[in-house]
């Protein structure tokens, strides 16, 4: 199918020779965008808090679609794996839903065991329109029950998914702000890792082996009790910069916790991240220990990469992920494998990230902001991609095009971070690209 490109979209597509890609813009009406909304952004960031009650105040849909959707693992409670909602009905729309929200919270407080310590109330699209004062209900709840109850006003229309990330970060700040004056302790917070397939545990394990304590994790495998210790940390390490750099900046400003951006995808980024964390802590022994650790681990994974490289060398990859920082890591990882990235798209990439991307890809690589299926299809075909790395909505599209696929989003089933993740990633890419199924697909009915 030959699909033309919307005029308004042309600025969001670039190759290295052209001008920079324009980004951080709202989607065009009528476009089959892969983007989600403000509520979605807020929910995915806060959802992994394991002992929080996430109540969606609105009609049922938004609660249904976000019920246990993220593979964020827990070592403690599994409250967050349930779906709570006020399931607003027509009468609530007419007469207001605040009463129902209060009643829902009362029902929860009366019946839930263990007693909730932390509630997030997400106000979706229509709550502002019908005039419910969600903040007042949350304040009343805090007074009445002596717990934390935080409003996340996230109507879908109020911006992009990034706006939702920001709201989630603000909610975390509201949660931890009362604890900002506690004594400092040596150690880091891991920020912007959602413990998908237990990835945060891997990173935490590396830091432990190097000798760096982890104070709090935001938000993968976190809990109310651990989160409020976050202000006591010496350093924030920010993994998913797209969702969390704003939080790190606020914590730096208001709580005196400096931050560095890290990425644990691929040998290059994992090694440099571990070294930079140790260096930032300013303890020479830790830097030495980090260097030795990375060296040892690299030696362990290199043979694995070498083993798969002959099957992957020269293959072409297309990348379509949420944040720009992850795209950068993936491009580097494909470079390590001798593969070439021919198409790169993100949903919420920032200007500086697109600049870095421009500097590590080839001249003719296509760079897209907020790509839609038609564009992805066109450029994957044009550039003859062998594999697409993306999320749930892109998987069937890739398969239909006869292109292999690796899920680097919520549906990843193996950890892809750290040295352990490299093996999983390489194996997944290999399995999909070199599966025997393609013989039947590409040749058609023989």
């Amino acid at each position: 199918m030959n699909v033309s490109i919307l005029e308004e979209r042309k600025g969001s597509i670039a190759n290295k020779r052209g001008k920079g890609v324009s980004c951080e813009r709202e989607s065009v009406s009528g476009s089959v965008s892969q983007r989600a909304c403000v509520y979605c952004g807020a929910r995915v960031v806060l959802n992994p808090i394991t002992d929080a009650y996430h109540i969606v105040h609105g009609p049922i849909g938004c609660a249904s679609y976000t019920w246990d959707i993220r593979g964020s693992l827990t070592s403690g409670e599994d409250t967050y794996r349930n779906s709570f909602s006020t399931d607003l009905r027509e009468t609530d729309i007419v007469f207001g839903g605040a009463k129902k929200l209060t009643a829902a919270i009362d029902e929860l407080m009366e019946k839930a065991d263990p007693r909730p310590k932390l509630i997030f109330v997400y106000a979706t699209c229509i709550v502002g329109v019908i005039g419910d004062d969600v903040e007042a209900v949350c304040r009343m709840t805090e007074q009445k029950y002596g717990i934390r109850c935080i409003a996340v006003k996230a109507p879908g229309f109020s911006g992009t998914k990034s706006q939702g990330y920001k709201l989630a970060c603000d909610a975390i700040m509201t949660l931890i702000a009362p604890h900002k004056n506690q004594a400092k302790q040596f150690g880091v917070n891991i920020i912007g890792d959602y413990n998908l397939s237990g990835e945060m545990w891997i990173i935490k394990g590396y830091l432990a082996q190097i000798g760096i304590p982890v104070i709090s994790t935001i938000t993968g495998d976190s809990s109310y009790g651990k989160l409020i210790q976050a202000p006591s940390a010496t350093l924030n390490i920010v993994q998913c910069a797209g969702s969390s750099v704003y939080l790190a900046e606020r914590m730096q400003e208001e709580m005196d916790v400096p931050y560095i951006k890290v990425s644990f995808f691929g040998i290059e980024d994992t090694t440099s991240s571990l070294l930079r964390i140790a260096d930032a802590l300013g303890v020479p022994e830790l830097s030495q220990s980090a260097r030795a650790f990375a060296k040892k681990k690299t030696a362990e994974v290199l043979p694995i990469i070498e083993k798969y490289k002959p099957y992957l060398k020269g293959k072409k990859a297309a990348i379509f992920v949420g944040g720009g920082f992850k795209a950068i890591s993936l491009i580097r990882q494909f470079n390590e494998l001798g593969m070439k990235t021919v198409v790169v798209g993100t949903q919420t990439g920032k200007k500086d990230e697109y600049e870095i991307i421009g500097s590590i890809v080839d001249e003719d690589t296509i760079v897209l902001d907020d790509a839609n299926p038609a564009e992805l299809e066109r450029f994957m075909i044009e550039k003859q991609a062998d594999i697409l790395v993306g999320g749930v909505k892109e998987r069937p599209l890739a398969y239909k095009l006869g292109v292999a696929f690796c899920d680097h989003n919520h549906e990843r089933k193996h950890p892809l971070a750290g040295f352990a993740g490299i093996e999983n990633f390489v194996r997944e890419v290999h399995l999909s690209i070199n599966s025997p199924v393609w013989q039947y697909v590409k040749g058609g009915a023989a």
Partner: protein
């Protein structure tokens, strides 16, 4: 897993926990995907469209293409007229569908967008059409959205030419492409010329060709929808999902209808076939009789393992009614039967089935959630559960064998390709249910009672 769920059940009136339903727009999107060359369009915030596409993609393991009006702050204050106008232009320019099927969302409903008048003012290219329906997310469930979209199409497109097209319309309800293929196969064996509406077969189970087409070959064509008013009769499957669109076609164009339960199990498949026989006035071919005979044979062979086994069934009303009828035919006890969709008609139908088969101590409820079902199970457990993927947490927590059926099934493969309707579908379900019980028996039985032959 699910350590939170307390055994003691207390009445809740405001808090919904672990829903057994979702909102109208996804139903509208799914129905619209059953129309050939159609771009479903979500008139609301971008997230709605994204969520609906995601859940459909996760269920069918296929691309589910739809566009969005991408509401901003401005649209929510000033209304979405300019969004839908721009969207229509962009969609026809770029994606070139035959029809755009617009559904509303909670947002566009609440701000009072008047889609009928917006659409009238849009300059639709020659030969193309736009239709719309209202799908307020705070009314009913995804089931309402499904039939509202059917009615949207019928309101805009159906006609009566005065000459019968000698066809029978079939509304298959919310089923998988594999079910639609089976329903069509039966109709064709019965020699009935049909129009299925909607028809996701060939769309959401499009075969792999190495090429991606945005509008695959399947789907009810616009001409077929226009011709619904010229049909001789209508068979609407699913008494809850089918009644309103069937009534509409009758009211508009005097097409008489038969409203039947979803043809799951022996009895309900018999009803479908006997209705087809009325339409075609031909005898039931030997092939179908033999299929029925094989199903009954299987029921007989397996009954010793299914008799009196207790089952919990949950999901969408019509599928659950069909499944309940089937398990009763298998001699099982449908201990708990729930739907999240608020339709009291559901409860009456299920209770009537309980009476018909003389089972007691069973509970049927509409407008319930899976948290409450879990609580009931904690008080008195069941031998097996049947329903959507969302039951898997309960099944694991309580260690109960679990058969996936209905919507959505997010964690298994192949299910949309195979039927649960018709005698063949029933054979498949009986096999799955019986073998799940036997697998559990083999897992739990002591070594000395472990046997090769069962």
């Amino acid at each position: 897993m699910m350590d939170l769920t307390p055994k003691e059940v207390k009445e809740r009136s405001a808090l919904r926990v672990n829903p057994c339903k979702t909102c109208q727009p996804v139903g509208a999107m799914f129905a619209a995907l059953g129309v050939h060359g159609c771009m479903p369009h979500s008139h609301g915030s971008q997230g709605c469209c994204s969520y609906h596409r995601t859940v459909l993609s996760r269920h069918f393991k296929e691309p589910a293409v739809a566009s969005s009006s991408s509401f901003t702050e401005g649209a929510s204050v000033f209304g979405g007229r300019s969004n839908i106008t721009t969207a229509a232009k962009n969609i026809f320019d770029i994606y070139n569908p035959d029809v755009i099927a617009v559904h509303t969302t909670c947002l566009s409903e609440t701000i009072g967008d008047d889609l009928a008048s917006y659409l009238m003012d849009i300059d639709v290219p020659q030969g193309k059409v736009m239709v719309h329906c209202n799908t307020p997310s705070y009314v009913g469930s995804h089931i309402n959205g499904f039939y509202n979209m059917m009615m949207g199409f019928m309101n805009y497109l159906t006609k009566k030419s005065g000459t019968s097209n000698e066809k029978t319309a079939v509304f298959p309800g919310w089923v998988n492409p594999g079910d639609i293929r089976e329903l069509k196969r039966i109709a064709s064996l019965m020699n009935v010329d049909t129009t299925f509406f909607p028809d996701q077969s060939g769309v959401l189970d499009a075969p792999m060709t190495g090429k991606y087409v945005m509008y695959p070959e399947g789907g009810t064509t616009l001409d077929e929808i226009k011709g619904l008013g010229d049909c001789e009769g209508l068979i609407a499957l699913g008494e809850i999902i089918g009644i309103e669109p069937a009534e509409l076609l009758k009211k508009k164009w005097k097409v008489p209808y038969a409203l039947l339960p979803m043809p799951i199990g022996v009895t309900y498949t018999d009803l479908y076939i006997s209705e087809l026989r009325k339409q075609s006035k031909t005898e039931v071919p030997g092939e179908l009789e033999k299929e029925r005979g094989r199903l009954v044979d299987l029921l007989l062979d397996s009954h010793q393992y299914t008799y009196q086994k207790k089952v919990a069934i949950f999901g969408d009303p019509d599928v659950v009614i069909g499944l309940t009828s089937l398990v009763l035919e298998m001699g099982m006890i449908p201990k708990y039967v729930i739907t999240g969709t608020p339709k009291e008609e559901f409860t009456r139908k299920i209770n009537a089935l309980f009476d018909k088969y003389g089972v007691s101590d069973c509970v049927a409820k509409a407008n319930k959630d899976l948290f409450e079902l879990h609580q009931w199970i904690k008080n008195e457990t069941v031998d097996i559960m049947i329903g959507s993927t969302y039951g898997k947490q309960i099944a694991r927590a309580e260690d109960i064998p679990f058969i996936r059926a209905g919507f959505p099934v997010l964690d298994r493969y192949g299910h949309p390709l195979l039927p649960i309707v018709g005698y063949i579908g029933a054979i498949r379900l009986v096999e799955q249910i019986t073998n799940a019980l036997l697998d559990r028996f083999d897992r739990d039985v002591s070594d000395e009672n472990f046997e090769i032959v069962l």
